[in-house]
């Protein structure tokens, strides 16, 4: 498998087309947060909305345009984090960042399994200019969670 094929694995091509969680919907939850991220090098854009139930990332929806890596990555992370706790989603993010920094090699520990489909992005690590593409969705996720936590906290104060 060439480096190019390793980057554009079938799993990634499928996510780029299937786009799990694509389409923003109104969420009837106390803690909702949204984030808009732009990658100016390639013009990628993602708007991602998160709804929390307690400490759980209950729902993730997004809208975006951009290269296949960026779109597939948001799709994969949506599938991955929904239903997990905020702490787990932080761990997943850290694992994914570590993978991106690993120059095309698997991490070689249980984080590879933990990442599920997102582990297929391993090949992106060989192309420094594309790492930002794979990360844009994760940036939006973390920012949206932070917004949701803030909005939830406010909600509580006002109750």
């Amino acid at each position: 498998m060439s480096s190019l094929e390793q980057m554009y694995q079938q799993v990634i091509m499928d996510h780029a087309r299937a786009r799990h969680g694509a389409g923003l919907v109104d969420l009837d939850l106390a803690a909702v947060g949204e984030s808009h991220q732009v990658n100016t090098t390639c013009g990628d854009e993602v708007t991602l909305r998160v709804g929390l139930e307690g400490d759980t990332v209950a729902s993730v929806h997004w809208e975006g345009q951009g290269c296949s890596i960026s779109q597939a990555s948001v799709s994969a992370l949506t599938e991955l984090v929904e239903g997990h706790s905020i702490r787990e989603s932080d761990e997943l993010y850290e694992a994914f960042r570590a993978l991106m920094g690993n120059r095309g090699e698997d991490l070689g520990d249980d984080r590879d399994d933990m990442l599920g489909d997102a582990g297929a992005f391993v090949g992106v690590g060989k192309y420094p200019a594309r790492i930002k593409c794979a990360l844009i969705g994760w940036m939006a996720l973390r920012d949206a969670i932070a917004q949701a936590q803030a909005s939830g906290a406010e909600g509580e104060q006002h109750d």
């Binding site: 060439s2 480096s3 190019l4 554009y8 390639c42 290269c67 296949s68 890596i69 192309y127 593409c133």
Partner: protein, 424 residues
């Protein structure tokens, strides 16, 4: 026609991505440099380097001579009336900002009555075009915001040509500055400068030409063009990064207020007050990019040696191959004039949209074959918005680009949609 010049450019001999030969088609972003330029800089650094225009010692003398000779070479390349009309800057962006910020400072009263010619305010307008690179757009947006003037623009037609029919209405008695590109870095279309200049003169507006893409590729004669200022960069014309040039009419440069202040640019300094030198010195505060100027001068000499008419003919030939080639690839759209691939007025470049594949992904597949192109909006977002796309994939040539390079690009482009499984 030009001979095959690849041997003059050391970098082109390298291989990429596991031993593939390099097909460098990103010259619109930045060009490679010939031995003539690299050697000029290296021997300057190793043998003749010293402070310029400041010392009385031998190295200072030698460095000053080389530095001023380089200015004369660049002046000759664009046929400036005198080397004093050439100001060294960091790059073309800095050159355009020098004019815009100078006008801003004049509008705030700096330079006194001598600089009144540059004053802008509410009720005045600045005209740009929809084809501009951000470097020749944002400084004018900001100047408009700072002075209260209005920003207007000339639009593009579907072929990527500027709508000359709008000149008469968009440029009017309120217009004080007309800033426009000599050639688009996305469509490759060369502007009819004379039409802009004629209209600007009718209303008494200053003209600022973005000559970034023209000076490296076409014969440029600033006196014949009749503009007031022109900006270009070293690194796009086979010279080094870190240097660019502003050409301007001497009588205008001498009264444009500076906007970067420091040593060398001034005549007398007390703690209270400072008086400026005439141009170009007034704009060259601080230690200039000396070695880089020497390199840009050597690049100008190299281009003059090739002959700009031959350089332009080479560009036209490559434009034809690139544009005819991509027109034949299914699912690929050219941005810019599509009907006349052999037309005289386009640069040797082609920006394309591949239906169903994002430019970044297109570029990656080409890169895997050793073909280096630029993807994205090429710092021309308004132009891309005009064609309702976020970005494009651009192949751009220079004197060292061969017909084979162009053919390889076209061939590789034809494989992209299949790689991503886009239905035909």
């Amino acid at each position: 026609m030009l001979p095959d010049l690849r041997g003059d450019f050391p970098l082109l001999a390298r291989t990429v991505r596991n031993g593939k030969p390099l097909t460098y088609l990103d010259s619109g972003a930045t060009s490679q440099r010939p031995y003539a330029v690299l050697d000029a800089m290296e021997s300057f650094e190793r043998e003749h380097f010293g402070a310029v225009a400041r010392g009385a010692h031998l190295l200072a003398e030698e460095a000053t001579e080389a530095f001023e000779a380089a200015r004369a070479s660049v002046a000759r390349l664009v046929n400036a009336a005198s080397p004093d009309e050439v100001v060294w800057t960091e790059n073309a962006t800095a050159a355009i900002n020098l004019v815009a910020n100078g006008i801003g400072n004049a509008s705030a009263g700096q330079g006194g009555s001598e600089s009144a010619r540059f004053r802008l305010g509410e009720g005045d307008s600045i005209v740009v075009t929809q084809a501009e690179h951000h470097a020749n757009l944002i400084p004018w947006q900001q100047l408009a915001a700072r002075t209260g003037a209005t920003l207007r623009w000339i639009e593009l037609d579907d072929d990527g040509r500027l709508r000359l029919d709008q000149l008469a209405t968009v440029i009017d008695g309120t217009t004080k500055v007309v800033a426009f590109t000599h050639a688009s870095n996305v469509t490759g279309v060369v502007t009819d400068v004379s039409a802009f200049v004629a209209r600007a003169r009718e209303v008494g507006a200053l003209t600022v030409l973005d000559a970034c893409q023209s000076v490296p590729h076409l014969p440029v004669d600033v006196q014949t063009l009749g503009v007031d200022f022109a900006a270009f960069s070293g690194h796009k014309m086979l010279g080094p990064t870190g240097v660019g040039a502003l050409w301007g009419r001497k009588e205008l440069l001498d009264v444009l207020p500076p906007s970067v202040f420091g040593g060398g640019a001034i005549q007398i300094v007390t703690l209270e007050k400072t008086t400026w030198h005439p141009a170009p010195t007034r704009f060259e505060a601080g230690t200039q990019p000396v070695t880089q100027a020497v390199g840009m001068g050597a690049a100008a000499e190299y281009l003059l040696g090739l002959g700009m008419a031959d350089v332009a003919a080479h560009e036209r030939r490559l434009a034809q191959i690139l544009r005819e080639g991509v027109s034949g690839v299914p699912g690929v759209r050219l941005i810019g004039p599509v009907g006349d691939p052999g037309a005289d007025d386009v640069l040797g470049l082609a920006s394309v949209v591949v239906d169903g594949v994002h430019p970044h992904d297109v570029g990656q597949v080409l890169d895997d074959q050793g073909i280096e192109v630029r993807v994205g909006h090429h710092c021309a977002q308004p132009l891309h918005q005009r064609f309702s796309v976020a970005g494009s994939t651009r192949a751009s040539a220079h004197v060292y680009t061969t017909e084979d390079d162009a053919a390889r690009f076209v061939e590789a482009l034809a494989s992209v949609r299949e790689f991503f499984g886009v239905p035909a």
